[in-house]
């Protein structure tokens, strides 16, 4: 027995070391685009508690790689007498997991240019809203528009809060039907709502068959897959269903998590993609990037103009063209009237207070946002984010211009 005790001891020490080394390397490198199949769910679920307990923002700025903390302090002392522009300082942000891969690339590229760190914690849109409301971060990020209650709470804490669109993404309807390839199934919003309401239960339902002449639909039950965690993807998807189906809007509604009539919940985009991939007869909704990476067949959807569209970046950008966008950009572009638009897509926003309390931080923030909606857009396409339409960029520019410090606009462009 004693021999084995030593064996256990040495084995566990080796294991611990291995895990420690692995976690070290993974925390040093910037998080890659969402190729990982199952890591996202574990990350998203385990992070929030630790973050909420340890967030004094001043600490988090000093902890990351130590070399970079020195330049801002040196430069802040020298220039202010000459020009009103202050040197860039470190920023902290928190919010949705959907834009996280893009933000990671943006912020590391931008940090190289300005010599200051921009940290982004992908903790979920809801947690991002909570953190910007509590003032523990300099900017929030969300895939959903803040609710009236959330907005009034944030306004009480720090004045008007802006929703500045950064990029947009599409939600693909994916399925698993052996012998039926991608884009062979056509669906309308109403039928999709009926499937998710469980009123259409079989693939060879007359309603589906009528839309798809020439496709031999199997007589198998439709296994409806949804997100089990609250998410911006679900917000966009249920927003679309609420717009196209009266039944959905009254029975279920639109939120980051809803009371699903449907069957199975998967954790994160990866979870839904995984379940659809393994379950014959399944239908699910995932962000375009996950559908492409997992080579899942997707359905063509009928848009508001009556055209059947496949999910695409071009179709997503089109969704915000030719429609009137409000100045505050709090708009869901689902079911767009543009004839070339893909119907299930939406913006993702960065949330920032209109009245900044720290001049240096405010300036860094507006310059970073300006860069993101112009030069930053090019990074999106390779990561499956649709660039903003010209109209959206104009509105976003006006929003960034309206950010002030003590009544003075922070952006000099």
């Amino acid at each position: 027995m004693k021999k084995f005790k030593w064996l256990t001891l040495s084995l566990s020490v080796i294991l611990l070391l291995a895990f420690g080394l692995m976690s070290c390397t993974s925390s040093n490198t910037t998080t890659p685009p969402p190729q990982t199949t199952t890591a996202p769910p574990t990350q998203t679920t385990t992070t929030p508690p630790t973050q909420t307990t340890t967030t004094p923002p001043t600490q988090t700025t000093t902890t990351p790689p130590t070399q970079t903390t020195t330049p801002p302090t040196q430069t802040t002392t020298t220039p202010p007498t000459v020009t009103p522009t202050l040197a860039p300082v470190n920023l902290n942000g928190a919010g949705g997991t959907f834009p996280a891969p893009l933000y990671t690339v943006w912020f590391s590229e931008y940090a190289k240019m300005i010599g200051a760190q921009i940290n982004y914690q992908a903790v979920g849109s809801g947690a991002g809203i909570n953190q910007i409301t509590a003032g523990t971060v300099d900017f929030g990020a969300s895939d959903a528009i803040m609710t009236a209650a959330q907005q009034s709470k944030a306004e009480a804490a720090g004045g008007p809060i802006l929703h500045i669109p950064m990029t947009s993404g599409a939600v693909a309807i994916v399925y698993n039907l052996p012998g039926i390839a991608s884009e062979q199934i056509k669906l309308t919003g109403d039928i999709l709502a009926k499937i998710y309401l469980k009123t259409i239960k079989f693939w060879n339902d007359p309603l589906i068959a009528a839309l798809n002449p020439g496709v031999t639909l199997p007589n198998s039950a439709i296994v409806v897959v949804h997100r089990s965690d609250g998410s911006g993807t679900t917000f966009i998807f249920t927003n679309y269903l609420s717009k196209v189906s009266q039944d959905w809007s009254t029975q279920v509604g639109n939120a980051t998590a809803v009371n699903w009539p449907g069957d199975i919940g998967g954790q994160g985009n990866a979870g839904v993609a995984g379940i659809v991939q393994k379950t014959v007869g399944a239908i699910g909704y995932v962000e375009l990037a996950y559908a492409e990476q997992n080579k899942l067949p997707w359905a063509l959807l009928k848009n508001a103009a009556g055209n059947y569209e496949a999910p695409s970046l071009a179709g997503t950008t089109k969704a915000s063209e030719g429609v009137t966008l409000p100045d505050d950009m709090k708009i869901m572009i689902t079911n767009s009237t543009n004839p070339d638009a893909y119907p299930i897509c939406g913006f993702t926003w960065i949330l920032a207070y209109q009245q900044q309390k720290d001049k240096a931080k405010g300036q860094t923030l507006v310059n970073m946002l300006w860069w993101a909606i112009h030069d930053g857009q090019q990074y999106g396409t390779t990561l499956d984010y649709a660039p903003l339409s010209a109209a959206a960029v104009t509105n976003a520019e006006n929003e960034i211009r309206s950010i002030t410090y003590q009544g003075q606009p922070l952006l000099n462009k």
Partner: protein, 326 residues
């Protein structure tokens, strides 16, 4: 102390004053230190209850006792009820225990009573290593290996035993209560085995020898002498396993299917309290939705506490019965 001739040899080697001084200083410091640590633990528990209750207050105020009996979870209309989650938690744990207890007891008896030590050493080492596997890994294994294999089993059960409500209904690709219960089995078998192996090993050999001397077979010896002797420890091991099963989050979330429904069928997807909290915590809005999630945590806390109390009572009763018999 030094005058004590039968005292330990180590102590008598030390100079008299040194050992005395250390003894006088160290004793109160040590006892106060341990008292402090004990108080820290106790206050932590009370702190948990207070924090959970205050955070859950919006939900408690809104729903009262109906929270436990209501079966909808609707973040849009802000209607929350815990019944499907409580049901799922208890059902999965029950399935887990039902499969794990015979396996564990069998393995423990085999390791202590049947095998020569050159097998039992490595075998118990391997079983203990099973306990060291992180739950995410077990969950992944469940998702990629167990779930696809369990689907035909479920279809078969549904075909031949479909008249039973627990085996009735659609098979959703293997994700559901049954898979979650089986995954829990893997997680609690090592604990129950380790505890019951130690319990059985602690039974004095005289008990066995007496039984064998009376002409009992090996089977009778184990059943009539060994197991009754360590009954309370075996129950303790089962309760430890149950404790882990109730709180297990990650692995269960991956295979249970996360549907908030109250169904008798073992094949249908469901949810547990822990997996519901893990799924929705990041995106829950302040106020009633967040309060409801915290109240779920409070309910889980209550269930665990209840299980512990029942276990204590059971162990206490078993030991008193044994004492009365003797």
């Amino acid at each position: 102390m030094n005058y004590d001739k039968s005292g330990t040899s180590q102590k008598s080697r030390l100079p008299a004053q040194l050992s005395d001084r250390h003894w006088r200083l160290g004793d109160p410091i040590f006892s106060n230190l341990t008292l402090f640590f004990a108080l820290v633990m106790a206050s932590l528990l009370i702190g948990f209850i207070i924090t959970l209750s205050t955070n859950a207050w919006p939900a408690i105020k809104q729903f009262g006792i109906h929270f436990i009996f209501n079966s909808t979870w609707d973040p849009v209309r802000e209607l929350f009820g815990a019944l499907p989650a409580i049901y799922g938690t208890l059902l999965c744990s029950a399935i887990g225990l039902l499969i794990a207890v015979p396996i564990s007891f069998g393995a423990a008896i085999f390791l202590v009573e049947m095998t020569p030590s050159w097998i039992s050493g490595p075998a118990s080492f391997l079983i203990e290593m099973l306990a060291a596997i992180p739950s995410v890994i077990i969950g992944l294994w469940g998702l990629f290996v167990l779930v696809p294999h369990i689907k035909p089993v479920e279809t078969w059960l549904g075909h031949y035993f479909g008249f039973l409500p627990i085996f009735k209904g659609t098979v959703f690709g293997g994700l559901g209560f049954l898979s979650a219960g089986i995954i829990l089995t893997f997680m609690i078998v090592p604990i129950i085995t380790a505890v019951s192996r130690d319990a059985i090993r602690a039974v004095p050999d005289t008990q066995r020898e007496a039984m064998l001397a009376l002409g009992a077979t090996r089977w009778e010896t184990i059943l009539r002498a060994v197991i009754p002797y360590c009954r309370s420890s075996l129950v303790g091991g089962v309760i430890l396993g149950l404790g882990r099963a109730l709180g297990e989050t990650m692995a269960v979330t991956m295979v249970i299917g996360n549907s908030y429904k109250l169904t008798a069928s073992l094949f249908s997807p469901g949810t547990t309290i822990a997996s519901k909290i893990a799924s929705e915590f990041a995106e829950a809005a302040e106020g009633v939705p967040m309060g409801s999630l915290v109240e779920l945590a409070l309910v889980l806390f209550g269930i665990t506490l209840l299980v512990n109390v029942i276990a204590r009572l059971l162990v206490w009763r078993l030991t008193s019965v044994k004492a009365a018999k003797e």
